[in-house]
């Protein structure tokens, strides 16, 4: 029974979200901490270094870590406030079980563990092993990610494991593997510094990766031209040399037209193309008709601006192209990525100083977490679960028969669809809040309600876990040692600052005990995180994401090591492809032809406005952590509907009016924020909130055929003005997801 056991209000009373603030005088002992622990922020892929102040086994505050080379003390507001989670009143301190009509009641670990195991066995015995699925997330360290991958395959013996990176970096990963045979940004951030031209496409850098802004400005101080491609004037776009306000869904048309301009003007690196790439002719054939007039119509960008961007890119000697979810959250996410890569390969500007390309990985361990095996189609070292040699290698490392290793499973959204169809009956989640983060979440709720048994491991009760039969209290980032891999491919060390409070346990301990009770304890005989990492090193050895030469000692000594690092005497690889030996079967970088196609849903008479979604600087992903921190909520309390004054005028909408936004999936009401900083044909809603305020009630669940990423960034909507202003009460309680 995965329906809410009682009213949502009483669940919120018990588990929050509640706003937490630091006391005026600071937490006890903040000015005389017992220790300062050097670690990293728990949020985005920048993984800024930070020191946590610890007093009496509690995190009491923070102190900037000036020596960590990426951020040298710099932090965003989320980083400054991250320390508020450990002291938070919403922290889950005991195991809880669902009691119909009452809510959640405390239970013992013994009962929780035995019930979990008996339900797994019951469901798998009646419906097959794959009827029990696992969903995970990449706020987890490499060690936990690796362990989750192994747990699902070896302990649960299910093929249906996937992760929240499916909503994040998979289009980029798939594109990079096609083009380069490897999935990592090609350069460290240091190579931005002297890039002559920087393109950032579909990435609101200053709100989602604030500390990366400094690197872009360093380049601008050195004369770089900045081109920003975004339907909105984001803070980084505000001062850009060129802003291309693309209509959501038009990205591959823009990049295709730019490629044609490069070809027409012979702004090409023929030597690089001839010697180190394949597929060039097919790729330029695919764009031969993409002239400026066509591109202007498809992208909504003035032809002169497209021409200017192509000319700057074409004539530059050094450059860096970065993209993120803005071009990746599409049914053609992989195509968009490939069309960017085509621009990079055509000009040969990769594998050289200040010549770079890559995705900006969103989640804290979005990079490492997507390499070591909690994707449905993958094994550690970024190995392929369908490749017999890869399967045999990992089966040997794990000490199991290769035939016992499950095959390729369903991706995250497909798992939800299979639950909805009744094929998957049981679910265990860790670090994933699909009820807020997946599209068309009324459908997701219906699916959750059909589950026979649902176990949630987490430190706060997120919106999805409200539907759980059993809640297992896990650990925060600062409560367990491990490593993460930052967006630039740097493996860094997460140091444990405190032990989990109350009866909460380290996530790894929970997984290990479950594995023991499922009869495979010998496969999870780890005493400490470093034991897991050392096994991961071996499991990744020889894979494209090779960590074999990385040790805890080496990470601490060097403030991080860039993979690939195949041997202990190897210094790591901040810049890829200097040797021009790409990891594709033929050793060449691959152009891929990209023909433009429309998004899954285009505007029509009934749904005439383009809707897009994204983030704000004060919140992180589904808000499980940040919608509990008072100051972050006060900065931006509720999701606003950004709308251009011309569009607002058409509908008679005034600033602050409540507007019903309706799509084919559902409807929700948001206050209008009338701004000139968005395209006239597009509205924007940030997605961090749940319940009635969730933008993902409206988004579309159509997936990219290759990466299986949902099309969060474009759908068609109606706007229905109510003529009423929002009440203060709604604004003040939006964070709670009622």
């Amino acid at each position: 029974m995965a329906k809410l056991p009682t009213s949502v209000d009483s669940i919120i009373d018990q588990f929050g979200p509640h706003k937490a603030y630091t006391p005026k005088e600071g937490f006890q002992g903040v000015h005389e901490p017992d220790k300062l622990v050097k670690t990293h922020c728990c949020f985005c892929g920048m993984q800024c270094g930070i020191q946590l102040k610890v007093k009496d086994n509690k995190v009491a505050g923070f102190e900037p870590w000036m020596e960590f080379p990426f951020n040298e003390g710099r932090l965003c507001p989320k980083g400054v406030q991250r320390y508020l989670q450990n002291n938070h009143p919403d922290r889950i301190l005991h195991p809880y079980k669902r009691v119909e009509g009452k809510g959640f009641e405390q239970t013992s670990w013994e009962d929780a563990m035995s019930k979990t195991v008996s339900e797994i066995q019951r469901i798998q015995n009646s419906h097959g092993r794959d009827a029990f699925a696992m969903l995970s997330g990449v706020s987890l360290t490499n060690e936990k990610s690796y362990m989750v991958g192994k747990f699902a395959r070896v302990a649960l013996k299910t093929k249906n494991l996937d992760y929240n990176g499916r909503l994040c970096m998979v289009s980029a990963g798939a594109g990079n593997k096609k083009a380069f045979g490897l999935d990592r940004i090609s350069n460290s951030w240091a190579d931005l510094k002297h890039a002559e031209v920087i393109i950032i496409a579909g990435t609101n850098v200053s709100e989602t990766f604030p500390t990366l802004t400094h690197y872009i400005w360093q380049a601008r101080d050195n004369g770089a031209k900045l081109i920003v491609i975004d339907p909105r004037v984001t803070p980084i776009a505000r001062t850009a040399d060129l802003h291309l306000p693309v209509r959501p869904g038009g990205d591959s048309a823009l990049f295709g037209a730019m490629l044609k301009i490069l070809v027409d003007n012979d702004w090409l690196d023929h030597e690089f193309i001839d010697q180190h790439t394949s597929g060039f002719q097919e790729s330029i054939d695919a764009v031969k008709d993409y002239d400026l007039a066509w591109a202007e119509e498809k992208t909504g960008i003035e032809a002169a601006k497209i021409q200017q961007a192509a000319e700057w890119w074409g004539k530059a000697k050094t450059s860096f192209l970065l993209h993120a979810r803005g071009i990746e959250h599409h049914t053609k996410g992989v195509d968009n990525v490939l069309s960017c890569i085509n621009l990079v390969l055509a000009t040969g500007r990769i594998g050289k100083p200040y010549c770079g390309y890559g995705t900006i990985t969103g989640q804290g361990n979005g990079q490492g977490g997507r390499e070591h095996g909690h994707k449905c189609d993958q094994l550690p070292g970024n190995r392929d679960i369908t490749n017999p040699e890869h399967r045999q290698y990992i089966a040997d490392v794990w000490g199991i028969d290769e035939k016992e290793l499950p095959g390729k499973g369903l991706s995250a959204y497909e798992i939800i669809e299979a639950i909805h169809r009744g094929e998957i009956k049981g679910l265990i989640t860790i670090c994933f809040n699909p009820l807020v983060s997946l599209p068309n979440n009324n459908f997701v709720r219906e699916a959750l309600e059909k589950l026979e048994y649902y176990v949630a491991i987490d430190f706060f009760l997120n919106e999805t876990a409200r539907h759980a039969d059993l809640i297992l209290p896990g650990s925060l980032h600062e409560e367990e040692e491990g490593t993460v891999t930052t967006a630039e491919g740097r493996v860094v060390k997460i140091n444990q600052a405190i032990t989990p409070p109350g009866e909460a346990r380290k996530d790894s301990e929970i997984l290990i005990e479950l594995a023991q009770r499922l009869g495979v304890g010998d496969k999870f005989a780890y005493d400490k995180a470093e034991d897991v990492f050392n096994e991961l090193r071996v499991a990744s050895k020889g894979g494209t994401a090779d960590y074999f030469g990385i040790t805890y000692e080496k990470i601490e000594k060097n403030m991080g090591v860039f993979w690939p690092c195949p041997s202990e005497d190897h210094p790591g690889t901040p810049r890829l492809w200097e040797d021009r030996k790409f990891k594709t079967p033929d050793g060449k970088a691959h152009f891929n032809p990209v023909s433009y196609r429309d998004p899954a849903e285009v505007v029509d008479k009934e749904y005439p406005v383009v809707m897009t979604t994204g983030r704000v600087v004060s919140q992180y992903l589904s808000g499980t952590q940040t919608r509990r921190i008072g100051k972050l909520l006060d900065q931006y309390p509720e999701p606003l509907l950004e709308i251009h004054p011309k569009l607002a005028y058409q509908y008679g909408i005034k600033d602050g009016d409540q507007v019903i936004v309706k799509t084919r999936r559902g409807e929700a009401t948001f206050p209008a924020q009338i701004v000139e900083t968005i395209r006239e044909d597009t509205v924007f809603i940030p997605y961090h909130w749940g319940g009635k305020h969730s933008a993902n009630q409206l988004t579309i669940g159509t997936l990219d055929p290759i990466s299986k990423i949902p099309e969060f960034k474009v759908c068609a909507c109606q706007l229905i003005p109510t003529g009423k202003m929002a009440s203060v009460q709604i604004k003040e309680t939006a964070y709670q997801s009622f």
Partner: protein, 190 residues
């Protein structure tokens, strides 16, 4: 010299074009022991309806601080390093003269405490050889703390300016703002 670690070569620079409006500076400022979770630096949109441009409002540490000049209780003082200190709590009478007089609109009266509060350039940190909290965390380095030589080398397209003309009134400050290359003053027309 009471604080041998206070480096007088270090200056504070504000570059509004770099500000991304993230509010990290405010949150970090509020962490200071003496600030009681209130920030002494403030970020505001200029006009959100037309732009995402934000401004930074922080004490400019005037050479001849009007706030101190108008204080009837002599609560505000400037030290040997040019830092204008927040009102001495035992002297401040909460009259708000400083709030009304400051040309930059910086001092705020903490109504509950009946005290004026403002930035003292993180004296606890800067006197111990550290950077102020806001300039430490600022992710875009719109707030920069360092030497004049450093900023001139790092940001060749801009010039630090510390002379402000409010109509006929000239105000010189310890804090600099970054302006287009070659600028010498910021003239605020009456």
């Amino acid at each position: 010299m009471q604080n041998p670690q206070y480096n007088q070569q270090m200056e504070f620079f504000i570059d509004m074009q770099r500000c991304i409006g993230c509010h990290a500076c405010e949150m970090a400022c509020a962490e200071c022991e003496t600030n009681g979770q209130e920030s002494m630096i403030h970020i505001h949109y200029v006009e959100r309806a037309v732009s995402v441009q934000t401004t930074v409002q922080v004490c400019m540490h005037c050479e001849d601080p009007v706030c101190a000049n108008v204080c009837p209780a002599d609560a505000i003082t400037k030290d040997d390093f040019g830092v204008v200190h927040t009102a001495n709590t035992s002297r401040c009478i909460g009259c708000s003269n400083c709030v009304l007089a400051c040309p930059f609109g910086v001092p705020k009266k903490e109504e509950k405490a009946e005290l004026m509060m403002k930035c003292n350039m993180c004296y606890d940190r800067t006197s111990a050889g550290k950077k102020p909290m806001c300039a430490t965390v600022c992710p875009s380095q719109a707030l920069f703390y360092g030497t004049r030589e450093e900023i001139e080398k790092l940001r060749p397209n801009s010039t630090p300016v510390s002379k402000f003309l409010f109509g006929q009134e000239e105000v010189n400050t310890k804090v600099n703002i970054m302006m287009p290359k070659g600028s010498t003053e910021l003239r605020i027309h009456p």
